[in-house]
């Protein structure tokens, strides 16, 4: 299966998308395009098969955010620049269940890592943060995401990955 990952387009067929999770389905169908084009809340990238390039098989949504410097414990603030710490938020990632187990999730998160590095190079960011469903934290942990402790006991789990760790995974000079 030859898959391409690109920005969501208005003409994309999202109606047939079903990842088995209603909020994630609903986000893609009702909000992703509006948030991308009109509201500038998040940018959505979609995986499409080259033979049917308008049908969305999986997607992820990215945005930038920041860690408020003033909210950090004083002992960690020393040495930090006097402004909030920029980060990339991997807000959503989902694969249509008809295509589960074919490596689409891996392809999508790989692209999210590459975009994060480009953001770090072009705009500046230190961390990649995701808010994972608790039953999916193991999948993110495989890629090195570490749980951020101290959040609400229910609901998504915030997870952290240092951009320097992503960069260190790039192939070295041959």
């Amino acid at each position: 299966m030859a898959v391409a990952i690109r920005l969501l387009e208005e003409s994309d067929d999202v109606e047939s998308f079903d990842c088995g999770d209603e909020p994630l389905n609903s986000y893609l169908k009702r909000h992703a395009w509006t948030n991308q084009r009109k509201n500038s809340i998040g940018v959505t990238y979609v995986a499409v098969e080259e033979s049917a390039p308008g049908v969305v098989l999986g997607y992820f949504t990215l945005a930038t955010s920041s860690i408020p410097r003033d909210g950090l414990p004083k002992k960690y603030v020393r040495g930090l620049p006097p402004y909030d710490l920029p980060l990339v938020l991997l807000a959503r990632l989902a694969v249509d269940r008809r295509f589960a187990g074919k490596g689409l999730g891996h392809a999508l998160i790989s692209e999210a890592f590459r975009i994060t590095l480009r953001v770090a190079d072009e705009v500046g960011c230190r961390y990649l943060i995701t808010e994972a469903y608790r039953e999916r934290t193991g999948w993110y942990a495989k890629y090195g995401f570490i749980p951020v402790e101290g959040g609400p006991e229910t609901g998504p789990q915030k997870m952290f990955l240092d951009v320097r760790t992503i960069r260190a995974a790039l192939p070295g000079p041959t």
């Binding site: 590459r114 101290g150 915030k158 320097r164 760790t165």
Partner: protein
């Protein structure tokens, strides 16, 4: 006493470049109509203004800005011009707020102050595939 003539000082000549374009008849008509509408008599002025506008559009897209036209009723149209997209930054992500608890910030600060972890096998595979 004979008058000595001082050598005339001449301003340095600015070398101008001639610009010639082959236009299709329809494009030629378009240029003429625009010049008339804008009350421009010379092609030089026309080209100079067009260049200024194009240059502005390029600089806006280069900064990642979207060029939008908005009607009096609020209907908005976004300019999508393939050549301009070549200069737009590859990544322009919008900013969003995350709600952090105090304990999360403490945990985050502790994680961020550590030396970066070594990449996992899965991360290495992710970054090394094409």
């Amino acid at each position: 006493m004979p008058r000595t003539e001082r050598p005339r000082q001449t301003a340095p000549k600015i070398r101008k470049t001639k610009f010639q374009a082959d236009l299709a008849p329809s494009e030629d008509r378009m240029v003429r109509a625009l010049k008339e509408e804008l009350q421009m008599s010379s092609n030089t002025d026309f080209l100079s203004d067009a260049l200024a506008l194009f240059r502005w559009a390029v600089s806006e897209r280069r900064r990642g800005h979207t060029i939008v036209s908005e009607s009096a009723t609020g209907e908005r149209k976004i300019l999508v011009f393939p050549r301009l997209e070549r200069v737009a930054p590859e990544v322009a992500l919008p900013h969003t707020e995350i709600q952090w608890t105090g304990k999360e910030l403490e945990s985050l600060a502790e994680l961020a102050s550590r030396r970066p972890a070594k990449p996992t096998e899965a991360l290495i595979r992710a970054m090394r595939q094409t």
